[in-house]
Subunit: 255 residues, 2 copies
């Protein structure tokens, strides 16, 4: 049974793309065949795994509108057990036209049901807007993972993300659940520590136990276009993402 | 003569909203009457100045579609000389329908020409997508300011921002110029320092001299809903944004 995770947040720069690439790498290493999907027209996640989005002739965009078949779009990565459906700039114009396509919400779900059956995990990166691309990811997912920084702007935007999740649950995907993931936690000073206490109280049931700390190795690995688990295997963030992968496996087994 | 600055970048979390609120406050303090405009449906900039976007009955959204007049939407802030056109959640659905509105690109420009003549500066916040709202801001602006972190994902997205600026220049606003602003510069370690050297060489003519450092007082002021220049007057980032305001004044005088 394939388990699909959609990684979303309207707030920009909270670590969505970093989480999809790094969590995907950890699941591939320790759990089973994993597919990461880049639904962000900016293509950050695609480039973080070593590809150049603007050179991708075939991307998830052509798959969504039925111009390409899955086998021609999916690519292997530098990691065994990890494949990618890459993004490219075409995704921007596709996202604008999807609205007028009846049943667009189910496009990704149907593609994954038909072609991703032999993957244990699928992890989908979303852009920082709650538009059509995010809706197709949430309709396809069993879990919406919401990376969030311990900062006011990130937390303020959570309400509208929850609204979209509830709307998706009632319209296209009744099984959708969600979990928050704290990212870029800065242990220096009290600012983040105080907010973490508030978040643990306020969102207790929905919060992943794993916390991802601030780690400059993340940035260096993205500059190199190499997954963090290869670039800096024993870095703090790589360990924390491995813990997150284990926590997710246990969470899914309990379902 | 009113000078309009649009603050934009497709990359999320680079400091767009922080720059509009803080630069707006500095221009109001040291230069003249300033209007900040929140074109981001998430409303971060509106809340950073102490308002609650979801409580704003009237916002820039109703102004753009002609349902409200300027005088009923504009609000004063806790700072003298600084007014705001706030955002609210309606902006999300407006942004989707603007595409089909002939000449939508000129809506904000025309509103500012008609009603903002007695402001010296107008600074506009944009969402992290290059859609209709960003296009209306770039059409109204003399300068596109692009805050960018010294990180691969931020720099990678610059090409598509430049493309949109060039497109706007040829279609709706021939006078548009652009400048990059380095934000959240982390002086610890070599990672940012090395990239700053590269950026200074690669984008030399387009780079503002002022650099905004990483400063946790920024986050604390946003949690408090108070402009940084009031919340932590002598903080490093407040000083750097004041320097930026001075640099802009000199830049505009040279034009
Ligand atoms: N744990 C971490 N430690 C340090 N830096 C990090 C960490 N996670 C992410 N970053 C950096 O923070 C920035 C934002 O991360 P990322 O691009 O993954 O966020 P995003 O939510 O995908 O952004 P967008 O909204 O633009 O899609 C990137 O430059 C990335 O390198
Ligand atoms: N100079 C700074 N020092 C420390 N933190 C900062 C600084 N500037 C911005 N931040 C923090 O970084 C985060 C991102 O900033 P901000 O929300 O202004 O970016 P943005 O580009 O407007 O994001 P979005 O793409 O979501 O609109 C915020 O939590 C903010 O508090
Ligand atoms: Mg991203
Ligand atoms: Mg913003």
């Amino acid at each position: 049974m394939t388990y699909v995770i959609g990684v979303t947040h309207q707030k920009g720069g909270v670590g969505k793309s970093t989480t999809v690439a790094t969590l995907g790498a950890c699941l591939a290493e320790q759990s089973g065949r994993t597919l990461v999907v880049d639904l962000d027209p900016s293509g950050n996640m695609t480039s973080g795994l070593g590809y150049h989005p603007e050179e991708m002739e075939k991307s998830i965009a052509s798959l969504l509108v039925g111009q390409e078949v899955f086998a021609n779009v999916v690519k292997s990565t530098s990691l065994q057990n990890l494949d990618i459906l890459p993004s490219n700039p075409d995704l921007l114009s596709i996202s604008r036209h999807l609205f007028s396509y009846k049943g667009y919400e189910f496009l990704l779900r149907d593609i994954l049901r038909r072609h991703a059956g032999n993957y244990k995990w699928v992890v989908v990166d979303c852009p920082p807007t709650l538009g059509t691309l995010t809706i197709t990811a949430l309709t396809a997912a069993q879990l919406a993972m919401i990376p969030t920084q311990l900062e006011f702007y990130s937390l303020q935007a959570l309400d509208v993300v929850f609204k979209l999740i509830n709307m998706t649950r009632s319209k296209t995907n009744p099984r959708l659940r969600y979990r928050l993931l704290v990212t870029m936690y800065d242990r220096r000073g009290r600012f983040h520590t105080d907010i973490l206490t508030y978040v643990r109280q306020h969102y207790s049931k929905a919060l992943m136990e794993s916390v991802i700390g601030f780690d400059t190795k993340v940035r260096a690995s993205q500059l190199a276009g190499v997954p963090l688990t290869m670039y800096a295997r024993s870095s703090r963030a790589a360990k924390q993402y491995r813990e997150l992968a284990q926590e997710l496996e246990a969470y899914v087994e309990r379902q």
